[in-house]
Amino acid sequence: MSYFNIDSIKDRTFDAIVIGSGISGGWAAKELTGKGMRTLVLERGRNVQHVTDYPTTLKNPWEFDHLGQMPKAVKDANPIVSRCYAFNEDAAHFFVKDAEHPYVQEKPFDWIRGYQVGGKSLLWARQTQRWSKYDFEGPARDGFAVEWPISYDDIAPWYSYVEKFAGISGNKDGLPQLPDGEFLPPHEQSCVEKYFGEQMAKHYNGARPIIIGRCAHLTKPNQIHYDQGRAQCQNRALCQRGCPYGGYFSSNASTIPWAQRSGKMTLKSDSVVHSILYDEKLGKATGVRVIDANTKEAVEYYAKVIFVNAAALNTNLILLNSKSNRFQNGLGNDSGVLGKYVAFHNYRTSISGEYEGFMDTTTEGIRPNSSYIPRFRNVFKQETDFLRGYAAGFGASRMTYNDRSGMGEDLKNSLAEKKYGNWRVGSHIMGETIPKETNYVALDSQLTDPWGIPQLKISVSYDDNDEKMIKDFHEQLTEMFTKAGFTNIKTNDIPNKAPGLDIHEMGGVRMGKDPKTSMLNKFNQLHACKNVFVTDGACMTSTATQNPSLTYMALTARAADYAVKQLKAKNL
C-alpha cells in the first residue's frame, strides 16, 4: 500500500482541513483559503456543482409527473424525511433518505439532513436575523445552561462581514431585540401585513413590531456579489431546487467557488470523516480518518488545524467517535459534556385566520420571503411563567379560488374566472428551547452505519417550558389577531409531533468560559485540543429565537481569522 510512502503522506498533508461543505464549512473554506491556507474540504456526499447539478431548477410545474407531490411508495419508505415541508418532487434529490443513513431514536426525533457539497445550504429557507445582546446574555440572566463566553459586541463586526458577502435583504427597523445588519433593499409587505403592523403598534405601544423578514437574497446585488458570479434574485421562489442565478446564498453559489478560485482549496466529495486523529505526544490533533463513501476504503489526511462543520449532530458524532488514550470519551471531552445540552427550536404550532378588509386589493407576483414577528416575551426582563420566548413568522395574502361546482362547459368557464376570497393570515411559532443535560446524543454501542461508524443515538424531547410557551403563543397571537379584527382564528398544535423539523438542532459541543462545563472557548477552539475548531450549530451555548445559520457564518469567519493568526504566531 502506498500509504506509508513519504510522498503520499505529503500529498495528504494540508495546512487546514474542513469537515463538511454546508453553510458553515463553506465559510471555513472561504476564510481559510482566503488567508493563504492550503485547505482540504472533506464532504461525505456527492459533488453538486452550481447550476449544472440543479436538474429541476428550470422545470415548469407541468413537467413534474405528480405536480410536485411525492409518490406514496417514497413516502412510505421514508416517513422521517417525508415530514419535512420541502421534501417534494422538485428537491427530493437534495435530502437524505431514511434508510440510507440510519440513526437511533431513543426518543422520536425527525433528523433532516442534506449530504452533498453545499449541505443544507441548497435547501434552507434563507431567513437570517442577527442575535441581540439579550440573546447572548440569556443563560447568565435566567440561570440555565452556562454563560456565553462572547457578547453581541464580539460578534457584531463579523455579522457585518458575512452579511456583506452573502447578501442579506432587510429593513432597518431599529429594534434592540433584533439588531439591524448590512442590508440590501427589503422585500415589500402585503397590505394586510402592513395593516397588522400598524394595529399592533397602536395596541401594544410599539412593543410588538411586525417587520419584513430578513433573508439571504440578492434583491439588489453589489459588486462583491457579481464578482462571485451571482445575479439579482428573480423572485421565482423555487430556491430549494438550487438557483441558476445564485439569487440566494448557498455554499455552492458563493463560498465554495470563491474558495476554489483562490487555488488553495482541494475539495473531496464522497469522503466520510470517521474520526479526528490525536497525537498524545504532540498534545494536538494531527489529521482525520476518512472512509471513501463508495469503496469504503480508509485513508488519513493531515493538517495543522481542523474545522469541524458537519452540521450540529454529525459534528457531535465525529467528536464522540474520535477516541484515544487521552480522550476515551471523545475528543476534548474532559468535562463529560460532549453530546449533552442539545437544544433546538420549537416549531410545533401555528395559528391562522382571515381578514375581511382590503377587499379591493390583492398581492401580485411572488416573494421568496414573508413577514416576521421578533420575540416580544421576556426580552428585557422575565415576565411569564416560562423561560425565554418565541419569534414568529407572519404572512398575509389574498385567497383566490374558482367556482368548482358543476361540470362540462359551465365548469370550464368558471375555472377561467378567478375569484377573490378573504385575506388569509397565518403565523408559526419559532420558540427558544432550553439546553438540558437530559437532551443528549451518544454513540450507539451496537449499531453501525454502512461505513462502519457507530450510529448516532438521539434522545431529545420537548419539556414543560415548551408546552407553556406553546400555550402562551396561542393566547398572545389569538389576542393580537382579535385586536386586528381577524376572524375564523384557528390554532393548530400537533402535540405528538416530534422535534427536529425545525432543522435548527444545536449544541452538544457548547462554548463556555469554564473547561469544566463546556467544550469550546470563546474562539470555538476545543479547550483541551486547541487546533480543533467547531463552528457549526454544535457550538451553540443557547439557541435564541432567530434562525441560526447567519450566526454560524459569523462565528466561523471569526474563528478562522483567529485560527490563522494563532498559526502564524506559532501557537497552534
Binding site: 447550476v51 449544472t52 410545474p61 411508495a73 457579481y226 407576483g365 389574498r398
Partner: protein
C-alpha cells in the same frame, strides 16, 4: 458585465439540463411507481369522463391535454390502494349505469348523455360512486389547471423574471402568478 454573467448563468443552466446526472433521475416514476393497472378500454373510459368534466370548446378539453393520464398516474403513484380500487370499481359502475340507461357503455353514448349521467353519479346515494366521481373531478381540475396549455395560454405563467407587489388594486392586477401551483 452584470447582465452578461446573469445570462451566462442561465445558459449554463440550460446546458446542464441536457445531460442529467444519474442520481437526478433517481426519483422518476419509472424507478419507483408501478405501471398502471388500468386496461386499455378502462383508460379510454376515463379519458371520456375527464373530457365530459372539462370538454373541448374553442380551447382544448381535458382529454387532449392528457388529464386522464395524469389522474391515473396520481392515483397509481400517490394515492393508496383504496383509491386504486375505487378507480377500477368506479369505471365499471359508470359503464353499468350507462348500459342500464342507454344500452351502451359510457364511451359510446352522446356527450350530452355523458354529462347528464356523470352528474347523476356525482349525486348517487352510493358513497363509493360519489367518491369516485369527486376524486376524478378533483384530479381533472388539478391536472387541467396545471397543464402546460392552461398555465401558458390562460394563466400566462412565467417562471422568471418575477416580481412582487404587496398591495395592488384588484382592478389593476394582471391576475397572474399570485399563487404558485407546484408547492
Amino acid at each position: 458585465m452584470q447582465r452578461r454573467s446573469a445570462i451566462r448563468n442561465l445558459t449554463m443552466a440550460v446546458g446542464g439540463l441536457m445531460s442529467l446526472p444519474t442520481w437526478a433521475s433517481g426519483w422518476t416514476p419509472e424507478s419507483i411507481g408501478k405501471v398502471s393497472t388500468l386496461s386499455f378500454s378502462e383508460e379510454g373510459t376515463l379519458a371520456e369522463i375527464v373530457e365530459t368534466i372539462i370538454p373541448e370548446t374553442t380551447t382544448p378539453g381535458a382529454k387532449s391535454l392528457k388529464v386522464h393520464q395524469f389522474a391515473m398516474r396520481m392515483i397509481n403513484d400517490c394515492y393508496g390502494e383504496a383509491a386504486q380500487k375505487g378507480l377500477k370499481d368506479g369505471l365499471a359502475t359508470t359503464d353499468i349505469a350507462s348500459k342500464l340507461a342507454h344500452g351502451k357503455v359510457f364511451a359510446e353514448i352522446e356527450p350530452a348523455q355523458r354529462l347528464e349521467l356523470l352528474k347523476k353519479l356525482a349525486n348517487s346515494p352510493d358513497v363509493a360512486t360519489k367518491q369516485f366521481v369527486n376524486m376524478i373531478k378533483g384530479l381533472t381540475i388539478q391536472g387541467y389547471q396545471n397543464s402546460e396549455y392552461v398555465m401558458v395560454n390562460i394563466q400566462k405563467y412565467n417562471m422568471a423574471p418575477g416580481f412582487y407587489h404587496g398591495c395592488v388594486p384588484i382592478a389593476k392586477a394582471q391576475g397572474k402568478m399570485e399563487k404558485k401551483t407546484d408547492r
